[in-house]
């Protein structure tokens, strides 16, 4: 087995502000291999975005801070990098795409000028060369008329074109990993499919990897290689998409998949499970899912289960399904 491209180990991110101190993301471990798409799924507020942001140290700090663990990329721990070193990694090694492309682009600057700034933040090239690279990235992101879009402002673009511009911005320095945080949630269904197709094609053409955060299990089934299921700040199950879909082991995953048609058959959003997700500041001593779980046993309330390997997947549960 080759070493993973990115290895997040035991990562915790917490809120530390004037007497308040609790972790929101807890002991998250996950890996992204070369040339794969890892999907991260989970209900709103379970810490998907925060996990993603903290990998690049883009979380709001203060009040949020990384309270433990490591993020190993290219042989070194990003958590220990200086601000300057992190700046060198953002965009050039690991890039990020955000959910709402309309507000994620600076309204005062043309798409082209931002792309050129991004190129020149990492590459010592002339303006002309940077412009050429930017135009290529726009074309690679699936934009029809790159020259025209280059000179346009965000308000002149549709949601789909804006998101392609965001993808171009992510591509412009040829990163090895793109973290896409719900890149299609804000878009029309047809545009969603096009954007996902483009991301998948880019993965194949460029041999890069994508960490894809989504609510949509249909998306996971159709584009991802592996998946991590998050619940209340923890990864509760992780494995190949085919394995998890075929035989989900965590009761939460079973619940999520319960109402979803099997692989390929129509996309569907996560189905809510009865009960309430515990807030990060009121987590129980034991398993975070115990109060909503149909398979709860005594030990679940007493101690917090570790994530362990079971067959081909990893599960954080004392009483997994089958």
């Amino acid at each position: 087995m080759t070493t993973p491209l990115l290895e997040v180990s035991d990562l915790s991110v917490g809120l530390r502000a004037g007497g308040v101190a609790y972790d929101i993301v807890r002991n998250v471990s996950l890996t992204v291999d070369q040339n794969e798409i890892l999907a991260i799924v989970g209900e709103s507020g379970c810490g998907k975005s925060l996990t993603a942001l903290s990998i690049l140290q883009l979380h709001a700090s203060p009040p949020l801070q990384i309270t433990g663990g490591s993020v190993v990329y290219g042989g070194s721990d990003l958590v220990r990098k200086t601000k300057k070193e992190m700046r060198g990694i953002r965009g050039s090694e690991i890039a990020m795409i955000f959910q709402d492309p309309m507000s994620a682009l600076d309204p005062m600057f043309t798409i082209g000028s931002v792309l050129v700034s991004a190129v020149r933040a990492h590459q010592d090239v002339s303006k002309d060369v940077a412009e050429k690279i930017a135009l290529e990235a726009l074309a690679d992101a699936g934009i029809e008329d790159p020259r025209r879009r280059f000179a346009e402002y965000p308000f002149q673009l549709s949601g789909g074109v804006s998101q392609r511009a965001m993808i171009a911005l992510a591509l412009v320095n040829s990163p090895k990993l793109i973290i896409a945080d719900e890149p299609t949630t804000a878009l029309d269904v047809t545009v969603q499919a096009q954007i996902l197709d483009r991301l998948r094609a880019l993965k194949n053409e460029r041999g890069m990897s994508i960490m894809l955060i989504t609510h949509n299990l249909g998306v996971v089934a159709s584009v991802a290689d592996r998946m991590a299921v998050m619940y209340a700040g923890e990864v509760v199950e992780m494995g190949a998409v085919s394995d998890v879909f075929a035989k989900p082991q965590h009761p939460y995953t079973t619940g999520l998949l319960g109402a979803v048609p099997r692989l390929g058959a129509g996309a569907s959003d996560l189905v809510p499970i009865p009960g309430r997700v515990p807030q990060p500041d009121e987590l129980p001593a034991g398993c975070t899912f115990a109060d909503r779980c149909s398979r709860v046993v005594d030990s679940c309330r007493a101690t917090r289960p570790d994530i362990t390997v079971r067959g081909r997947v990893q599960v954080r549960c004392f009483n997994p399904v089958s």
Binding site: A104, S117, A121, Y153, N173
Partner: protein
């Protein structure tokens, strides 16, 4: 009708109405126009004769129409006090006021914006606290009081600058600073809060994620977004400076429009008051126009 034509017509109407208002107000405000011109020994008849000569016994509306006719023909009249031609006087007064007002505007934006940026960039540090407190003080202190303070400190005590008068650069420093003080304070606060608001926007995270340096993000992107509200209120700043110029020019003996206007009012020198107050209205209008043009140019949505 295009908005530009509409705007020009409205401006002309505004000028017309304000000239009428000034014309009537100065005449109805009482006081004695002859006091400045005729010696104290002049008899009641002498004074009446003088009024007759300059047409003050006519109904106000007749006087106004007469006055408008002359203005249209380019005759601005003469000062009642010393008979000087207003068109000649105006050149020098306007030049002086432009120097003082221009310096104040440069200070308002040239000091206000960088200080506001710095406070935002170093938010919640001692530097931010000092800048922000100074800004609060700058807004709270009335400018005539500030004028007395700076004259006492920099002129009487330290002797760095002359207390009043006109001349070289040395004479300009104190009045320009006092004139600009409140505008600087307001601009610092506006810049700071606009920067802090914009730094929380989603696009800032995008730029950081693309690897742009923090100073690039701040001083190019966040700043550019923060300039819009500042530009949109620039007209207000100009108006404020013009209003304060009356006080500041008088205190510092700066021979500009403000000073001659205040003296004109005190002496009931009608032609002087009429011309120079109208001039101020015109400048305020132009200031607002420039600000709205600037806003349009600075906003890609409106420019396209």
């Amino acid at each position: 009708m295009s908005t530009v034509v509409k705007r020009v017509l409205l401006t002309l109407l505004l000028l017309q109405l304000s000239s009428l208002a000034v014309f009537a107000a100065i005449r109805l405000s009482g006081g004695d126009v002859t006091a400045a011109r005729l010696p104290a020994s002049a008899t009641a008849e002498d004074r009446e004769l003088f009024r007759e000569q300059i047409g003050l016994n006519q109904p106000i509306l007749t006087q106004y129409v007469d006055y408008l006719g002359k203005v249209v023909r380019g005759d601005l009249g003469n000062s009642l006090t010393n008979n000087a031609k207003i068109s000649t006087l105006a050149v020098e007064k306007i030049r002086n006021s432009l120097i003082l007002g221009g310096a104040a505007i440069v200070l308002v934006f040239g000091i206000g914006i960088p200080l506001g940026m710095l406070a935002a960039f170093r938010r919640n540090t001692w530097l931010d606290t000092s800048i922000s407190s100074a800004a609060v003080a700058g807004m709270a202190i009335p400018n005539f009081w500030l004028a007395l303070l700076v004259v006492w400190l920099f002129s009487s005590t330290l002797g760095w600058f002359p207390p009043a008068g006109a001349g070289g650069f040395k004479y300009l420093v104190l009045p320009a600073l006092v004139l600009a003080a409140e505008g600087i304070a307001l601009t610092v606060r506006m810049t700071r809060s606009a920067m802090l608001e914009n730094v929380g926007q989603d696009f800032v995270r995008t730029l950081r994620a693309a690897g742009l340096s923090e100073s690039r993000v701040y001083f190019k992107h966040v700043l550019r977004n923060s300039l819009l509200p500042i530009i949109s209120l620039a007209g207000l700043r100009v108006g404020q400076i013009i209003g304060y110029a009356l006080v500041v020019e008088t205190i510092f003996g700066w021979p500009g429009v403000g000073q001659i206007l205040v003296n004109g009012v005190l002496r009931r020198d009608y032609p002087i008051v009429q011309f120079f107050s109208l001039l101020l209205v015109i400048v305020v209008t132009l200031g607002n126009l420039a600000a709205s043009v600037g806003y349009t140019l600075a906003n890609p949505r409106l420019r396209k």
